[in-house]
């Protein structure tokens, strides 16, 4: 054979991926790849795509199999040794209920979404990267089921997560987020999920849950987290590559991408308000405050990133300043919302302990004592009188993010930042200017939303009475999964576990 120059690593990987591809001549390229043009994105040359990582399949199988082997050995040991008894406190498990109901189904949706874009980009390099992410997401979806499996056997509220994800009112916040991305075109999907979510905001979703597990003695979850770290590193590089690629391909792409960045920053930020609550309230041993996490991972790291992207003509996301200011409020605002609707959730709520409230005073010096501590003092008084507060009137939901319209004006934390507008004779309500703008750009999309509160009122959720909705339509076991933590079956079991220690010694003797 003729010998020419030996291939370097980059060229060799391209031969093992892109060179499998060819220019079709029996079918039109636009029929094979019909989704590439309607978003307005212009791709002049797919060969300019830089592979975000270079893994051939044999290496993928090998490294992933090694990770899985270690992970499942630890899951087995955790279950055999009843590792659920080693967590800090049973209140912690409520963060897992939120995770399994809110996050794990998104992993499965991501598997589907990446399989789709992994078929539909006409650049073979990008397809392979997306397919590997697709199968990684399937992994995350499944290992999370397995990691939580043992907790499900010993605690309430984890037993029907994918079912609840499709139906329960607050789970339409994560569900509609991913439905929005998957119903969008392939380039928006990647900007939304790979860039905004997996790159910009991942440290505010993944890290709080996994570090929370580490700080609270949950070996199963933290082991999953460690095992998924190298997957996540690949996913982040894909996120950065797609954005740079789109921006470099054509100047007309810049405003389109900017609008997506604005939209998905705000939708991501709204989704993360659930995580903020989890970090500040559901972790008995605190990792860091939501405000600190936001400062470090968004204001500092995100700030540097957007400075870097300025050379492409990209500015930081719109309403970024509002998000930055809200860091001192949202976890408290969300927790008291869930507290009063705790009869309609698959997890428990409670009043923070005195020590926890002192921690919050320290972490939120400008806001906690002024606005939020008095709430807990009042709620504690009611609970002491046997009148634990539940709100029996369903809330106004935001048409876009679907969180109850509970957020406040940036310059006035006592005033709800409610917005409304009329579209084709109908009235729509929003939690903020950010969500209102997203609606204005694509009203025909958001008018379709399946808003849980509206659907209950329309009689589409199994009954006219809330208890029927909860038990029959949501599969929430009333008196087990829902209501206050104090007096719950979880709390009783936890006290029993701690009460029978040290373990009975008759067998060991």
């Amino acid at each position: 054979m003729t010998t020419t120059k030996k291939l370097n690593l980059k060229q060799k990987y391209q031969y093992l991926t892109r060179d499998l591809d060819w220019e079709p001549s029996y079918q039109k390229k636009s029929d094979i790849f019909p989704l590439e043009e309607f978003e307005g994105i212009k791709i002049t040359d797919w060969s300019k795509w830089e592979d975000p990582f270079r893994l051939t399949m044999d290496a993928y199988w090998k490294y992933q199999a090694e990770k899985e082997k270690k992970l499942y050995a630890i899951f087995d040991a955790f279950a055999q040794n009843n590792g659920h008894q080693n967590i800090s406190d049973a209140r912690y498990v409520n963060s897992l209920k939120l995770f399994l109901g809110g996050v794990s189904p998104l992993e499965y949706a991501a598997f589907q979404g990446y399989a789709k874009v992994g078929r539909h980009f006409s650049g073979a390099g990008a397809r392979v990267a997306c397919q590997m992410q697709s199968i990684d997401e399937l992994r995350h979806s499944q290992t999370q089921q397995h990691a939580m499996s043992h907790y499900n056997k010993h605690f309430n509220g984890l037993h029907d997560s994918p079912y609840m994800h499709d139906r329960v009112w607050f789970l339409s916040v994560p569900k509609s987020f991913f439905d929005d991305a998957r119903s969008a075109g392939p380039f928006e999907f990647l900007t939304a999920i790979s860039f905004s979510f997996e790159y910009v905001l991942t440290n505010l979703l993944f890290v709080p849950f996994m570090s929370g597990a580490a700080y609270n003695g949950d070996m199963a979850t933290v082991t999953f987290g460690f095992s998924a770290q190298s997957d996540e590193a690949r996913h982040m590089t894909l996120g950065l590559e797609i954005i740079k690629f789109l921006l470099e391909q054509h100047e007309d792409n810049v405003p389109i991408v900017q609008q997506w960045i604005d939209k998905w920053f705000w939708r991501g930020f709204r989704l993360l308000s659930l995580v903020g609550m989890m970090m500040d309230y559901m972790l008995p041993n605190k990792v860091m405050s939501w405000a600190e996490a936001w400062e470090m991972y968004y204001e500092k790291n995100g700030g540097a990133l957007f400075k870097d992207l300025a050379r492409y003509g990209i500015r930081p996301p719109k309403y970024e300043a509002d998000a930055n200011a809200a860091k001192n409020h949202i976890s408290h605002q969300i927790w008291t919302t869930f507290y009063q609707y705790g009869h309609a959730t698959n997890f428990h709520t409670w009043i923070p302990t005195a020590e926890e409230m002192d921690w919050m005073s320290e972490k939120y010096p400008e806001t906690f004592d002024k606005y939020y501590r008095p709430r807990y003092e009042h709620l504690a008084k009611l609970a002491d009188q046997g009148k634990r507060y539940y709100n029996n009137t369903l809330p106004q939901l935001c048409q876009v993010c679907q969180v109850p319209a509970l957020f406040t004006e940036t310059d006035d934390p006592t005033m709800l930042s409610h917005r409304q507008l009329e579209h084709e004779g109908e009235r729509y309500h929003f939690c903020s200017d950010g969500c209102c703008d997203i609606f204005k750009n694509e009203p025909e999309k958001y008018v379709q939303a399946w808003l849980p509160v509206h659907q209950i009122y329309q009689g589409n959720c199994g009954g006219a009475e809330l208890p029927k909705v909860l038990s029959d339509y949501y599969h929430i076991n009333i008196g087990e999964d829902n209501f206050e933590y104090v007096g719950s079956p979880d709390q009783k079991r936890w006290f029993e576990i701690k009460g029978i220690k040290p373990a009975k010694s008759k067998d060991a003797a």
Binding site: M1, L16, D58, A65, E68, Y108, Q448, H475
Partner: protein, 333 residues
């Protein structure tokens, strides 16, 4: 004598997730079950896809094949992610040994140029068929409703990428890692008349809209025919040409081919058994594509194994179809 360590067993409140218990009862479930059943979203989708106004996300109407319960379709291999990568990691280890051995001993470099050219002309271009299979299966994984039906398709997609990479490495071994042999091989795929019917078939498969038709076409018909031809019939022919060493490098493909046979047959069989209309739809796809596949392999067989080899390939496919409850049109004369 056995030694038994006493452990403290704790009474659980339930043995598995409710969605698993509804199917299998409240008893400890397998890893495959907890990973695969009822984890996909099924209802209350918020927005219609911008790219398909006719359908919803996760829409059961994307195929003419209908199931009362898509989770009737299961994988007899019980592959969830961890079981899948564990199995493939072992297979690639075997392949690595063979590739290392061939490379070290220069077994392909030593072949005479005529035989090397045959490898580049008749074997290596099948990597492009792997590419089509990779894309088709990625598409099916995104559209199949029910995780037990969707997940084997993403495994299948990645398997084909891996096999395309193994075939590519055969060429790289021949050209000493320069890529020149891959360029030569791809030129046959693009321009040599013997490959054009197969290339057309691959491109035609990429525009098939019904995902179940696509899995029947790709995973049952094309794969069964191609693997029996390329890695059995053609393998024998290469041995007669003095290139028996190539066999070591396609062992992965032969092992692999036994594996999807089990789940693909199960998928098609279960769907066909569900209703007459399913069986008729699937049979109509078999009727439509089967002759095209054999016609497409013909020029290649005529220059290599001889046309009789295809009859054997056909007999194997007919047996598979029969197992799935389907008819063959017979070997096209």
């Amino acid at each position: 004598m056995t030694i038994e360590i006493k452990t403290d067993s704790v009474q659980p409140i339930r043995h598995t997730y409710s969605h698993i218990a509804r199917r299998f009862g409240d008893k400890p479930a397998t890893r495959y079950q907890e990973a695969s059943f009822d984890i996909a979203a099924t209802t209350n989708f918020h927005y219609r896809p911008l790219w398909d106004a006719e359908h919803e996300l996760n829409d059961v109407n994307l195929s003419a094949v209908k199931m009362k319960d898509w989770y009737e379709i299961t994988d007899p291999r019980q592959f969830y992610y961890g079981a899948y990568v564990g199995n493939r990691a072992k297979m690639q280890e075997g392949a690595e040994t063979s590739y290392g051995f061939c490379e070290k001993r220069g077994l392909l470099k030593r072949l005479d140029e005529r035989v090397q050219t045959s490898i580049l002309k008749y074997l290596v271009p099948f990597r492009h068929m792997n590419q089509a299979a990779n894309m088709n299966n990625s598409s099916i994984a995104s559209e199949a409703v029910g995780a037990t039906a969707a997940q084997p398709h993403i495994f299948q997609a990645m398997d084909h990428l891996g096999m395309g990479q193994y075939l590519s490495r055969i060429a790289l071994m021949i050209d000493g890692n320069t890529g020149s042999a891959l360029d030569i091989s791809k030129n046959y795929w693009m321009n040599d008349p013997i490959w054009q019917p197969l290339r057309k078939l691959a491109e035609d498969s990429m525009v098939v809209r019904d995902w179940f038709e696509l899995t029947v076409l790709q995973n049952l018909l094309i794969d069964k025919a191609i693997f029996a031809f390329a890695y059995e019939a053609l393998d024998d022919w290469f041995a007669q040409q003095g290139a028996e060493d190539i066999s070591m490098l396609t062992e992965f493909m032969r092992d692999w081919n036994k594996d999807p046979l089990r789940w693909v047959t199960a998928v098609v069989k279960t769907a066909a058994a569900e209703s007459d209309s399913n069986r008729e739809a699937i049979q109509s796809w078999v009727d439509k594509w089967e002759p095209e596949i054999f016609a497409a392999l013909k020029p290649l067989a005529m220059q290599t194994t001889g046309i009789e080899a295809l009859e054997n390939v056909h007999a194997q496919l007919a047996k598979t179809l029969q197992k799935a409850g389907l008819q063959t049109k017979g070997f096209p004369a």
